[in-house]
Symmetry: C2
Subunit: 121 residues, 2 copies
């Protein structure tokens, strides 16, 4: 029996309700596939060495950059390049899929009370 498993995103999202605490749902090469529920405003931060993908699974996400606001609806994604300051904002709860290197810290160059380790789910 192979250990390859199909992951159902809706099922995984049903397992938790807290915000801003990404869970790991898969690994691919040097990266993790994470999911998170977010609501409210996150901190401004950047990642020095890593690009980061945000895919909106449910809801409407605002990612503020220093020179523009990016609005993402369901089925839309964006890659925030390394070094680019960004601030995710979710007026209502948003379900997102994240892809980022295993070394990535959620708050990037900032470490504060919002900094968390992601756990497998």
């Amino acid at each position: 029996m192979s250990s390859v498993q199909v992951i159902n995103l809706a099922q995984k999202f049903s397992l938790f309700n807290d915000h801003w605490k990404p869970r790991i749902t898969g690994e691919i090469n040097d990266s993790y596939v994470k999911i998170a529920k977010i609501k409210g405003e996150f901190v401004w931060h950047h990642h020095d060495h890593e690009d980061e993908l945000f895919l909106v699974v449910k809801g409407k996400l605002l990612i503020r950059l220093q020179d523009q606001d990016l609005w993402l609806n369901e089925g839309e994604f964006v890659v925030i390049p390394r070094g680019v300051e960004h601030k995710p904002v979710a007026e209502e709860e948003v379900q997102i899929l994240l892809l980022e290197p295993k070394t990535t810290l959620n708050t990037g160059n900032v470490q504060n009370e919002r900094t968390v380790d992601a756990e497998w789910i």
Copy 2:
């Protein structure tokens, strides 16, 4: 103005109709985010050094492994680890999102008439 762009998957899928020809919709670190429409059976192959993610955006996908069949519905993904023989099969057209290193060839260790270069869309 930043060059960061929001990608709408449905809009990108609307731009082409051929099967088994992945298009690149984004890049993240050393990988491409690709989309493809597939229908019918692909060739058995594996990737020696690269894990590969399949996320079903629309339709129902079968990925045959040597020891099991994986069925993926919309909103489900699987990571096929490096070295694992697999054969995607789509009875009806399926829209998939792929994530794989930039160096990945669609047919992996096999090179034949199904081998194609992915282009940006």
